[in-house]
Symmetry: D2
Subunit: 357 residues, 4 copies
C-alpha cells in the first residue's frame, strides 16, 4: 500500500501532529505493508513529482513541533516556478504524478484553497482523504479546524500582554488578529481576553459606534480600551460598495492595514492616544497547544480508518464532538463564517462588549 501525504497553504500549528497521527495509525494497522511518501511543499511537489519514501522514525518526536516537516506552499496555481503553465496542465501533472506513483490514497492537509484542489483531484478519480487545517476556523463542515485553538491561545496571550500597557498608559490599543474572511479567531480571542470592542468581517463596523463605546468606558473611569480587530474588517460604507468599488477603495487606502485606518478614525473622534499591535505570523507558528495535539491525533487516526475502509473523497471533521467524514464536494468552495446572531455574538453583546456596530 502506498500513501502520499502533503501539507498545503499557510502553515499552522498541528500539521506535524496530524501527519504523525495518520502515519502511526497506518503503521500500526498495516505494518511494513504500507509505505508513506512525503510530497514536498504541497501541490508544488505533486505537480513536479517531488516526493520521497518516509520511515516510521521520521514521524517520531514531531508531535509538538511547529510547521510541517513536508514543507508547504501557497495556492498551487500561483506560487510554482512554472507560473506560465495553464491550470489544466497543472492538474494533469498532478494526476500524472498520482498515477505514476500508484498512490492508494493521497492524504491532504489544508484549508479552503487546498480543499478546492483536493476536491478537483477527487473528482478526477484520485482516492483522497483530507484533514481540516486553518487557524481561521472557516472551513465548512467541521465545528473546529486544527491550528485554530493554538492561534487563539497566542492571540489571547498578546491581548493579555497589551492589556497591562493599555491600563498603565491610559491608552486605547488596537490588536489586529488574523482572519480575512471570518472573524472566529478575533471573536473567540476577544471574548477570552476580555477585549472591550470586537470587530469582525461579518459585522461591518461604524467608527462612531466604537468611539462611543470607548468614550463611555472613559466616562466610567476606565481610560483604556482594547479593540480586537480582524484583519478582514470592513466599514459600513465599504459593505455598501460594489465589489469593484471596494477593491479600488482599498487599493487607494493610505494605511498598511485596516487597523491603522481605524486608529486614525478613532483618534479623530475621541482625541485619545491610540496604538496598533499586529502579532502577524506569530499567531500561526510554534508548537500546537494540547487541544490541537489531541485533535490532530484524533483526525489522523480517523483519516487512517477512512483509508482502511476505502472511504475516499472525504474530509475528516468534528461534529458534535465526534469525528465524522464529510464529502469533499460539500466542503469545497464553501466558507464557514460567524453567524451574526449566533450564541457567541449574542454573548459578547450581553456582556456589554461593542461589536463595532
Amino acid at each position: 500500500m502506498k500513501i502520499g501525504m502533503l501539507t498545503s497553504g499557510g502553515d499552522c500549528q498541528g500539521l506535524n501532529a496530524a501527519l504523525r497521527g495518520v502515519a502511526k495509525a497506518l503503521y500500526q494497522e498495516f505494518g511494513t505493508a504500507v509505505t508513506i511518501y512525503g510530497i514536498r511543499d504541497g501541490y508544488r511537489g505533486l505537480i513536479e513529482g517531488d516526493y520521497h519514501p518516509m520511515e516510521p522514525q521520521d514521524f517520531s518526536d514531531i508531535l509538538t513541533r511547529g510547521g510541517t516537516i513536508l514543507g508547504t506552499s501557497r495556492q498551487p496555481f500561483k506560487t510554482m516556478q512554472q507560473a506560465e503553465e495553464n491550470e489544466a496542465t497543472k492538474l494533469e501533472k498532478m494526476l500524472d504524478t498520482c498515477r505514476r506513483a500508484r498512490f492508494d490514497c493521497l492524504v491532504i492537509l489544508g484549508g479552503n484553497g487546498t480543499h478546492k484542489t483536493a476536491n478537483l483531484l477527487s473528482e478526477h478519480g484520485i482516492p483522497v482523504v483530507t484533514l481540516p487545517k486553518t487557524i481561521d476556523n472557516d472551513l465548512w463542515g467541521t465545528q473546529v479546524t486544527f491550528g485554530f485553538q493554538s492561534a487563539m491561545n497566542i492571540a489571547v496571550e498578546v491581548i493579555d500582554s497589551i492589556h497591562s500597557t493599555a491600563f498603565s498608559h491610559s491608552r486605547v490599543f488596537i490588536v489586529e488578529i488574523m482572519g480575512h474572511k471570518a472573524g472566529w479567531l478575533t471573536l473567540h480571542a476577544g471574548i477570552a481576553s476580555g477585549a472591550d470592542v470586537i470587530v469582525i468581517p461579518e459585522i461591518p463596523y461604524d467608527a462612531r459606534a466604537i468611539a462611543a463605546a470607548i468614550q463611555q468606558r472613559a466616562r466610567g473611569g476606565k481610560r483604556f480600551s482594547i479593540v480586537a480587530v480582524a484583519e478582514g474588517a470592513i466599514s459600513r460604507e465599504e459593505a455598501a460598495m460594489s465589489k469593484k468599488d471596494f477593491k479600488a477603495a482599498r487599493a487607494a487606502m493610505p494605511y498598511p492595514s485596516i487597523s491603522y485606518r481605524l486608529a486614525d478614525e478613532l483618534q479623530k473622534i475621541t482625541s485619545q492616544e491610540i496604538r496598533v499591535t499586529i502579532p502577524g505570523h506569530f499567531q500561526r507558528g510554534g508548537a500546537p497547544c494540547a487541544a490541537d495535539r489531541l485533535l490532530c491525533t484524533r483526525l489522523g487516526v480517523a483519516a487512517a480508518e477512512l483509508i482502511r475502509e476505502g472511504k475516499f473523497g472525504n474530509m475528516v471533521a468534528v461534529q458534535n464532538d465526534r469525528i465524522v467524514p464529510v464529502p469533499l464536494k460539500e466542503v469545497a468552495g464553501r466558507l464557514k463564517t460567524v453567524p451574526v446572531d449566533g450564541e457567541l455574538v449574542r454573548a459578547a453583546r450581553e456582556l456589554g462588549l461593542c461589536m463595532g456596530d
Copy 2:
C-alpha cells in the same frame, strides 16, 4: 433583584472567570437593580449566613485569576466547624439563609458533590442555577466542564517535560494524573502528550500487559516509556473484588499512591529503572487557559439568561458545541465516565498505545 453566588468543592481554573461572566451579564441587563451577594467558602457560608454584597468592580480584573475570590470548601456535610450537626439541620440552615436573604436566585459553581446539594436545595424550592466546574470532566449532562482544559494543558506540560528526562536516562516514568473516578484527564493528556501507556479507572489494568508494552518498546530500541496513570486506577484483581474487600485491600496498601504500587509491579517484571512524578494540586491552580476563559464566560452569560427568564433548577451545559440548560435532577448523582469502547479509547489503541489491559 438579589442574587447569591457561591463556589464549592475543590477549586479549579476558571471559577473567577465564570463568576465574572454571570456578574457582567447581570449588571449589563439589570444595572443597579441587581445586587450580587458573595457567599463565603461554598456551602459553609450558606449554612452560617456568611455573605456580603458585592460591587461591579469586584468582578474587574479577575478573568485570568486562578482560584475563587469567594473562597471554597469541600463537601458541606464534612468540613464545617459544626460537624456535630446532622444533615437535616444543615439543609434547614441553608434554606433559612436563602429565605432570610431573599435571594431571587442562588448561583452555584461546583462539581459532582456540589450538584447533589444544589439539587436538594432546588427540590426544596430554592431558585437555583448552576455551572459545571471540575477538572475531572465527569459531570453528567455536559460535554465539557470548565477547568478541564486548563488542567489538561498542565498535565500535558508535565508529561512533555518528563519526556526529555525519560529519554535521556532511558527510564520508565509514571506520571500520576488527577481523576479518582473518571479517566478523562489522563486519557486526553496522555494522547496529547504522546504517552506510551494510559491507565484509567474505567479500564482495570494488568501490570503484565503494561510491562509487555514497555518491553516491546525497549526491543524496538526505545529504552524509555511514559505511563500516564489516573490516581483512581485499579488493577484487574481489584476490579473483581467486592467493594468491602477493595476498601480493605487499599487501606492495607503500603504505598502512598497507586503509582508507586504500579512502579513496584513493573520494576519486578521489567527490571527497568522506574520513577514516579505526581504533579498534584499544580493541575488545578493558576490562570485558566484561553479555552476555559471563553467557556466560563459563555456559561456565565447563559446562567444570567436563565435567571432573567426564571428558568431555575438547571445547570448550564455544553452539548453539540452549544450552551443549553440541563435539569439539575438529571445531573445530580450521576457520573460521566469514559466509554471504554468510545472513539478516544479506540483512537489510542489504533495508535498502538497500551491502555493498561
Copy 3:
C-alpha cells in the same frame, strides 16, 4: 515618614514587583510609622500634585501583575496637558509638590529619560532613590535593568514561533525587536533563539553582507533564514551621514519601519520571499518572568535600605551579581550600548552568525 513613589516612561514588566519590594521592606522596617504615597502617571502626577496615600494591602497580589498600578506617562516635558508651560516652571512645580507633601524620599522607577529628571530633582535637594527600569537594558551603571529579561523571553518566543513558519515555507523572516539606541534585546534574543542574522544599532548594517549570509545558507540547503533586527538599526550609508542628513533621509523613508526597508533591500538582492513580523508592545506587557520578579524584589529591598540609611541621590544597580548604589549623576544622560567587540558579539560571530556587517 512619608515616601512618594512614581513610575515613569514606557511601562514594562516588573514595575509592580519593584513597587511591592520597596513597600514590603519599608512596612517591615517601619511599620505604621511610614506612609507611602502613590504619585499618579509618573512626573505628570508630581507636577500636578496628583498623589494619594496607599495601604499595605494595595501592594498585595501585584508581584506578577504587568504594567504599573500607579500609571505612567512619557517624558515629563512632553505629554502633559500643560504642554505650553516651560521646563523651568515644570521643575518648580515638581519641587513644590515634594516640599508641600514633605516626602522624606521620592522613589522613582524609570529608564534613561526618567533618570535625567530624577537627577535634576536630586540636584535641587530632593532626597531621591531610583530603580533601573527598561526592557532596553541601556541604563548606565547596572549590568541589567528590570524588564529586560521578561522582554527577552517574549522576543525569543516570537522568533521561535516564526522559525517553524520560515522553515515550512522556505522563507526569510525579519523580526523587528525593540531597542532604538541599544541592541541588547536583539542580541540576547537573537542568540538565544538561534537567529541567523542579528542587526543592532551599534553595528551599521550592509544589506549585501546580510544577503550573502542568507544565500550561503541557501547553498547549504537551508532555504530559510531568521533575521533579528533592532528597531534602531541603521545602514552603513546612514552611519556615515551627518545627524541632520540622517534625520532628513529617515523622514523621507517610504517604509513604516526599518525592517520593511531591509526586506526590500534583501528581496532585490536575493529574490527570496521575505516577510516582516513586529511584535511591538507585546514585548513590554504582561507578567514579569521569574528572574525579573526576583530582581525587582531585590532592588526594592535595596532601595528601602538606602532610604533607611539616608543614602539619597542613588540608583540601586546590579554589579557583579550584587546590588549596589550608583550615584544618579553618574547614570543620568549616559547610555549603555553593546560593546561591538565584546564577548557576546564575538560569541555570535564565532557561531557563524552574521552581525549585519
Copy 4:
C-alpha cells in the same frame, strides 16, 4: 582534530543547547578538520568505549530541546552494569578509551559528581574542558550553572499555581523544591513567587518558628501560607546530631520526604489544613528558558575557545557576568552553598519572610 563529548549526571535543561554551542563554534573554526564523537550515557560510554562520530546536522534544531541527545547516567561508579569492578579499573578503562580514540579534547557537561571524575581524568593527563550543568546551582567557581534558571521558572510556575488554591481553600501548602545540599533553587524561587516561608538546607529549621509565622499571617487575616522547602531541609535537632545519628534518624523517618514530616509537625502546632506538593522531575525536564539557551551558547563558544587555545583542565564559568576559565582542581569536590548572611537571605528577612529559623 578529534573531540569527544559526554553529558553526565541527572539531565537538565540546556544540555543540548550547550552541546550545540560547542559544536557550532568548533565547526565554524575548524570546518571539516574537526570530528566530534558523541559518547553515550555519560561516563558509562567512556568506560565501555561506546561512542560514535557525529555530523554537523546532528546539532541542528536541538537548541530548545530538553534532555540530552547523548544520553546520560548517574555517577560512573554506581550505575554501570559492571558494578563489580573496582574504581581503579573503571578509571583505567576511561583513560584507555580516551587514548585509543585519540581525543584531542574531552568535553564534559555535568555537575558536582561529574566534576570530580573530570578532574581525575585531567590529573591523569587527559585534555579536558567542562561545562557547569546543574539545576541546583551548587557548583563552585561559577555564579550560575545552566539549568538553574529554567528550573527556577518551573518551580515559580508551580508555586504560583498552588498560590490560588491555597488562597481559595484557606490552606497551608508546602511545595518541595529540588536541592539536596544547597538551597539556591528554593531561595530564588521562593522569593520570586512570593512564598511566605522558605526552608533551605543551609538554615536548619524550627517547626515552631514556621508555625508562628503561619499563625501571625492568620491573625492578620491571611488564612493561607506558602512554605517553599528544599528537599534537603533539616531540622535544628538534626543539625545538632552526629552524621551517623542523623543517617539513622532519617532511615527511621516514617515519611516519604521531609515535606510530609514538616506538614505533620505544622499541623500539630497550628491545627490548620496542610497539603504537600512535590513537582519532582518536572523541574529538570523540557525546553531550556531563553536565559539558559543564551548561557549555554556562550559557555559552548567559550569551551571551543579553550580547545582552540589548548587551555585544558578548565571549566568555563560565569564570574561578574563574564565567561572565564576556572581550573578543575579548584572546582572538584567543592560545594557552593547559600551564604546564610548573604544579600538574598537578608533580603528575604527584610521582606518579612520566615527563613524557617
